[in-house]
């Protein structure tokens, strides 16, 4: 089959931060510490991810991991992605800064999620899996995986958080266009979904529930396997094509950023741009500020606890140490569904815990205003998630002293907002309210998280 010619700036390897910082390999509590109710007697141990993919999350031996040829051919269809200087935005802000942005929205799936979806579908297809099952928040991951599954001739089932599905049902049509089966979560297809609906028929859903349902659904068929779109080290690894390209594109302009800004769901677009820049800054013996921008409705880094927590409602996945608001926390239904996961991934969490990554929480009104400004000045409408990154970047730039040398900032526009026009229209019409955390719900969830950690306490045994 003819392949798209590869641009010389297309990375041929993924950048593996675990080589530089092996301490970032995820830490998990042995399940034997859990109470009997969640031990699942008779439960078999089975790989969900193909072995060669799963081991990428533990690899501390290789700084660069080769991208399979088949995946490179697919990357070549839309990569390198553009890196541009936001000159008009700089002018509008009267910024003492040179602002560069990397734009990941110019592919069919509309976001950075395609970078890992193609890689994962490649490994799953090669391992003989027939159907990939997943949970999605904003729907960008579901769209990307639906397309990747179509490319590799795999079935695809997506459990989509109800609140977001109802905000932008047209994205579901994109998933279905590629042959995916899309279910609203909570659903009546799984035991945990039925239980959630029984407790609250109007439950808005969470990423933890959608992920839990996907895990439970995948377990019902020997030919299906669960896949995840963020948080895992391997997923962040696949996204490092973003940062590597940015380094090369900035070098052509004689630039290296002082500061890198990206939004934070569980960490994949953030890691994708930040990790290679961190490695490159260390190689050059210079500092780089890494700023993760989260939703004020789901402020896990700024208000969460760095503790062991469940990542899904089923509770069968590893219990890793993460910044979390507690797995029972139900964030308000903000438009940035991709930022509603109750915890950051283990790698992003470890980077925040050791001070490598700063965190900032942004309200959705501020984010939409920043997204509108970016659109008006740069001609690109960012996804609501990416608009948080823009808002965070504007905050960083506005605090930079006038008398100092201009700050060089790199911000990741992880996806387009063309399927979020309804939300932007509501914002423009003044119909979107600021969303605040319900302090009572947050406090209850954090208490439950702390109690859970007391029940499994024996830190020496954690790895």
């Amino acid at each position: 089959m003819a392949a798209t010619p590869r641009d010389p700036q297309l990375p041929t390897h993924w950048f593996n931060i675990l080589y530089d910082r092996p301490q970032y390999v995820a830490s998990a509590v042995p399940r034997s510490r859990l109470s009997g109710a969640v031990k699942y007697a008779g439960h078999g141990v089975q790989l969900q991810q193909p072995f060669s993919l799963a081991r990428q999350s533990l690899n501390t031996a290789d700084r660069f991991i080769p991208i399979p040829d088949e995946v490179l051919d697919l990357y070549a269809q839309y990569r390198p992605t553009p890196l541009r200087r936001a000159v008009r935005l700089e002018e509008r802000l009267s910024a003492n800064a040179r602002i560069y942005y990397k734009y990941e929205g110019a592919n069919l799936a509309g976001s950075h999620k395609l970078n890992t979806a193609l890689a994962q579908a490649y490994y799953y297809a090669r391992a003989g899996v027939k159907r990939m099952v997943t949970g999605t928040g904003a729907g960008q991951w579901g769209t990307a995986l639906a397309y990747a599954c179509r490319v590799f001739d795999l079935g695809c089932t997506v459990f989509w958080v109800r609140s977001t599905l109802r905000q932008k049902p047209i994205r579901g049509e994109m998933m279905r266009l590629f042959g995916a089966v899309v279910h609203e979560s909570p659903s009546d297809l799984t035991e945990i979904g039925r239980r959630a609906l029984k407790e609250d028929p109007s439950a808005i859903g969470t990423m933890a529930m959608a992920t839990g349902e996907a895990l439970a659904f995948a377990a019902e068929s020997s030919e299906s396997r669960f896949a995840v779109g963020s948080g895992e080290n391997s997923v962040l690894l696949h996204q490092t094509v973003i940062g590597q390209e940015a380094i090369s594109q900035l070098a052509q302009l004689g630039e290296f950023p002082d500061c890198v800004v990206a939004c934070m769901g569980a960490g994949s677009n953030f890691g994708g741009i930040a990790l290679p820049l961190l490695g490159a800054a260390e190689d050059r013996g210079r500092p780089v500020r890494l700023v993760a921008v989260e939703s004020a409705a789901c402020p896990k880094l700024t208000r969460g606890r760095y503790l062991y927590d469940l990542s899904d409602a089923l509770g069968t996945t590893p219990i890793t140490k993460v910044y979390s608001l507690g797995s029972t926390y139900v964030p308000p239904p903000v438009y940035a569904g991709g930022l509603r996961h109750h915890s950051a991934g283990p790698l992003a969490s470890a980077m925040h815990a050791d001070g490598t990554v700063e965190a900032m929480a942004v309200d959705q009104l501020t984010a939409f205003a920043a997204g509108m400004l970016f659109c008006q000045t740069e001609g690109i409408l960012p996804a609501p998630e990416s608009a948080h990154a823009v808002a965070g970047m504007i905050d960083v730039v506005s605090r930079h002293p006038r008398q100092e040398a201009p700050l060089v900032v790199l911000v990741n526009i992880s996806g387009h907002g063309l399927l979020d026009l309804g939300a932007y229209r509501s914002f423009a019409a003044g119909e979107i309210e600021p969303v605040e955390v319900d302090e009572a719900i947050l406090s209850q969830s954090l208490s439950a998280l702390e109690e859970f950690n007391q029940s499994i306490a024996a830190p020496a045994g954690a790895t």
Binding site: A26, A28, V29, P30, R31, S32, R33, L34, K39, Y40, A41, G42, H43, G44, V45, Q46, L47, Q48, Q49, P50, F51, S52, L53, A54, R55, S57, L58, Y123, R126, A127, G128, V129, S222, R225, T316, T317, P318, I319, T320, A458, A460, G461, A462, T463
Partner: protein
């Protein structure tokens, strides 16, 4: 499943069940801090009794790959479902037999 060369396995193509069990016990303790070989027996459940989640299972496979000197292949591992330690011993026995061929 096992396609790599193994110094240990190649030298000892007829790994007996006892030796395989011992290798499995060692690998389990290597990936589970605080676990001792004396605490293990083949009837224990990997998930419910030993707390072997997917992260630790992958670590265990990496450990066994290194111990046995083999390359584990995705396609065959994907079909494996293990409940007890004995199931794991069976798997490793199969791997060692294949690699010895």
């Amino acid at each position: 499943m096992a396609t790599g060369e193994s110094s240990e396995v190649a030298a000892r193509p007829n790994l007996d069940r006892r030796r395989v069990t011992s290798l499995v016990f060692e690998a389990l303790t290597a990936v589970t801090p605080g676990m001792r070989v004396e605490e293990l027996d083949e009837r224990q459940e990997l998930y419910a009794d030993l707390g072997l989640d997917s992260l630790r299972f992958v670590r265990l496979l990496v450990e066994l790959e290194s111990t046995l000197g083999v390359n584990l292949e995705d396609e065959e591992l994907m079909t494996v479902e293990l409940v007890t330690v004995a199931d794991l011993v069976d798997l490793v026995e199969r791997i060692s037999l294949l690699s010895a061929k």
